[in-house]
């Protein structure tokens, strides 16, 4: 079995080899490491994505708005994820962030999980029929753990959840 550190290094080098900058490759390494830690298929999906990337053109979104629709086949989950992390201070103020067409959404999820930790808020993600709760990069809950994660998501909706107690004051007495 590979250690998480080996996974991170291998992913970093593979990402560089497919053309991402070193800095972006470091981000992918960190994110896929986190997915594998949570038991999600990070390496498997990234490997498929990098093979697809050689023959298909994916759209790179650098500025995230409340509603975003890819004009090409799909958004690149890596560039989208890094943009999301970088713009976390602005996107966390949106009520709902919507995306249309993301390739390999599980790769994007890994960045969202880290975004949840940075913003200090849980993030709720809905894509197609799937629902996921990203809990401050500590864990990921979803309603499809036993299924394979789809390689394409058509409609994605993201909401930051404000921190609130799930009990009232009398519950503390």
């Amino acid at each position: 079995m590979r250690s998480l550190s080996e996974i991170e290094t291998a992913v970093k080098r593979a990402s560089r080899a497919v053309g991402f900058s070193w800095g972006n490759s470091e981000e992918v390494g960190k994110s896929i490491r986190q997915l594998e830690l949570f038991g999600l298929q990070g390496i498997k999906n990234l490997n498929k994505y990098y093979k697809d990337k050689a023959s298909k053109k994916f759209e790179e979104l650098n500025l995230i708005c409340e509603t975003n629709e890819a004009s090409l086949d799909a958004y690149c989950p890596v560039v989208l994820g890094i943009s999301f992390l970088d713009q976390i201070k602005s996107v966390e103020n949106f009520n709902t962030i919507k995306f249309k067409k993301i390739a390999y959404p599980v790769i994007f999820l890994s960045f969202l999980s880290r975004a949840s930790e940075i913003s200090g808020k849980k993030i709720h993600v809905r894509f197609d029929q799937n629902e996921i709760l990203l809990n401050l990069n500590v864990n990921i809950s979803s309603n499809f753990l036993k299924q394979n994660i789809p390689e394409f998501a058509n409609d994605i909706e993201i909401k930051f959840i404000n921190n609130e107690d799930n009990f009232n004051e009398s519950g503390m007495e």
Binding site: S21, W22, G23, N24, I82, S83, L85, D86, K89, R114
Partner: protein, 184 residues
Amino acid sequence: MSADEDKYFNIPTNRTTNELKDIIRTRYSKILKINFDQKENYQNFWFISKNKEEPRLADRFEEHGSELEQPLAIARDIKKLYEKLLSVKDNLTIAQFLSVNSELRHVVRRAFIIEKFPYSEIQDNTISKNIVPIDMLRLKLSFFGALKFDPRSDKWLRICMFQGAPLPNELKNYDEQWVYKTIN
């Protein structure tokens, strides 16, 4: 010997290009004086060996493979970052800067890490013609407890560890300065 660098892995993208420039001027002042237009200052490159997956040094003008260079030319890349920062507005956020300069992301991260950990970086030109890798190796090994360095070339050396250290039956009463007494 440990530091929680992971805590600072995420780039603080809400900070400004002006702040980043200040960090570079403060922490990399000597690096900024290096002229990377001179061949001898970027003569070497680092790559990873296929068999042992260890860093190796090669001459970029005599050997193939510099396009696969590892991101270990920190001095050169920091200077490139600084020069880029001089050409953009002071009040850009780092997020805005990175959206069009992703090739500099690895050094932006390092600059923000060195702000917190001043000793996190080798303050020298690691790709210069005059680089002596064994200097870095000795520094690293000394942190692991190596003593009595025996250089075999400028790229590798033999060491001795824990010679003169107290034995288990001497641990109740031993000289805490033993390490310094065994160096010579």
